[in-house]
Symmetry: C2
């Protein structure tokens, strides 16, 4: 198994990306292929002690900018590190692709190059969120803004198998993100999805509310990509704001500063627990291949963990499970003739 | 001016509601009318020293349960404290109504009894959120789940006048909650709203993302009630989860506990800053009257501040400003013949 890493993607590329890939290679014995401008990659590798490690470099002369529209990136940059990385997976030269580059371009390129799994209408971006009791999966967090009920149904199935594989949950509890627990609550879309999910074989526990996202009451939270993306970014923003406000209060008082020194190890443990970089990126579920998308501001540790997740994803055959799960659903639908 | 307070609404009624109303009456010299079961109200008043304060009691024999469907509350409980409180405003016996009761029932009853302001198609629930730099207004947070572009346009106008009146912002900056800043980003709904807002006379600064909700980059954030409600509840949930996780880390170490003692005043100041009860409830904007809706778990302080907000709302004639603003918009639309 080999994992391709987009060496040029992200705000701190190629430094963090190369370092993270090297650390993954060393720590998890996973062979990696660094994709990007050869010279720049070798300059980074020279700084690190990589003798004997199974690291390859594949040259890609173009780089997609972080704010470039996905459409122009796809049309005009056929030699980008994103395109070539995705191609390596398609051709079987790598089994997974990790990128902290332009999210829209990575998603669109992965869909175009690797194609969707049979039966999947819309691949979805799934992320792990830390909760009161451990972690849950939230999807879709941005791959699909306008969804139909059937798409959300597929997200639920894909999320269920992902939670089983990555979080080790048996028969994961699936909740539909809405604005009230009763089935009559929500908007037109969620009411339709509720009906479909209730009749399926997955472990659907009903609607959940915004307050359930972080309390760990379910293993998988399903929503469309518009709501999911806002949920994710609101959470990041609130966590940053809280930290900023607490820091500014601490700065105002000498006693508080002393207190902070005593508390620092506890704060560090807390931060480690809620740190996205521990969870290693978000997979684009439903493509015929493995793409793990990382935050643009990814640290080397985040890249390292994303490479680990890509490896797990392959080793546990998440795609095979998703395919079989969707096929099973289709059989059920046919037998009860839901359309 | 008199403010009616639903003495029976909320998880801690009538204790917190009566106490909060009395404190508002004492602190802000605002006459209040307590609405609910007379005997229970008087029992609470007897515990408090209210001699000489301008407090009236209006009997309402029915109470709407916190989880009761709004529809049955409206049809079957014509003598509820919510119904009678709203009626007092309609009849001019009170100028505002404050309730921590069943949110759905308070919204629906207020709309039915007080009616909408002329030109308002959908009243919206607006809440104040603490930000990195102060506070912003977020609306709609739950009054309307399925909205059309025109409704969001009206939310923007109402939010603008509310921010001006309550936060004292001149020509408030309005942002549309979406998943990318460019006008082409978002879902079908936000793209339509973007076009309409850009052509209007309000100070529309464009799309904002989830990360902007708490960073104070705009004064008013507009979204539909489904997205707004999830945003609000996700935020509450994350804040609680962070507090819980920090506490559990602190408990594990004696040094951290000592540190916490030193830091407690700083934490208290932080909590005061982000405490919803300081901001005093969410007005239902766009009704021909004043209804302030409080959190079900409201403390006496939250009720007190909601009474203050109701008073401000009247004194600053927010409704008059909204009416004039909407009329102005209609004139503009006619002159450029947007439909």
């Amino acid at each position: 198994m080999k994992i391709a890493v987009d060496a040029m993607g992200g705000d701190f590329a190629p430094r963090n990306t190369v370092q993270g890939a090297v650390e993954a290679c060393r720590e998890f014995q996973l062979p990696v292929i660094l994709v990007g401008r050869e010279q720049e990659i070798h300059r980074e590798l020279d700084r690190l002690n990589v003798g004997g490690l199974p690291i390859e470099v594949v040259h890609a002369e173009e780089v997609v900018g972080m704010d470039e529209p996905a459409v122009t990136a796809i049309r005009k940059k056929k030699k980008s590190s994103i395109r070539i990385g995705a191609r390596l997976v398609k051709d079987g030269d790598a089994q997974g692709f990790v990128s902290a580059g332009n999210t829209g371009a990575v998603m669109a390129t992965s869909k175009i190059v690797m194609k969707s799994l049979e039966g999947v209408q819309r691949p979805a971006l799934a992320t792990v969120v830390p909760t009161m009791t451990g972690a849950s999966i939230l999807l879709d967090v941005g791959a699909n803004v306008d969804c139909r009920a059937k798409h959300l149904m597929q997200f639920a199935v894909m999320g269920s198998f992902y939670a089983e594989a990555i979080l080790g949950r048996k028969n994961p509890k699936i909740g539909l993100l809405s604005i009230g627990e009763e089935e009559t609550k929500g908007n037109e879309q969620t009411r339709q999805v509720f009906d479909i999910l209730r009749q399926s074989s997955i472990n659907f526990v009903g609607n959940v509310e915004g307050r359930d996202v972080f309390n760990g009451s379910v293993d998988v939270i399903v929503c469309d990509g518009f709501v999911g993306n806002i949920t994710l970014k609101v959470s990041e923003s609130l966590a940053e704001t809280m930290e900023h406000l607490i820091r500014s209060e601490i700065k105002k008082s000498i006693l508080a500063r002393i207190g902070y020194l005593f508390m620092r190890p506890a704060f560090r443990k807390f931060k480690k627990r809620v740190d996205y970089s521990e969870y290693g990126g978000a997979p684009l579920l439903g493509i015929s291949g493995v793409t793990i998308i990382c935050h643009g501001r990814s640290s080397a540790k985040a890249i390292k963990n994303a490479v680990r997740v890509a490896g797990d994803f392959c080793a546990k055959d998440v795609n095979g499970q998703i395919s079989r799960g969707l096929a099973e659903l289709v059989r059920q639908e046919e037998s009860v003739s839901i359309r």
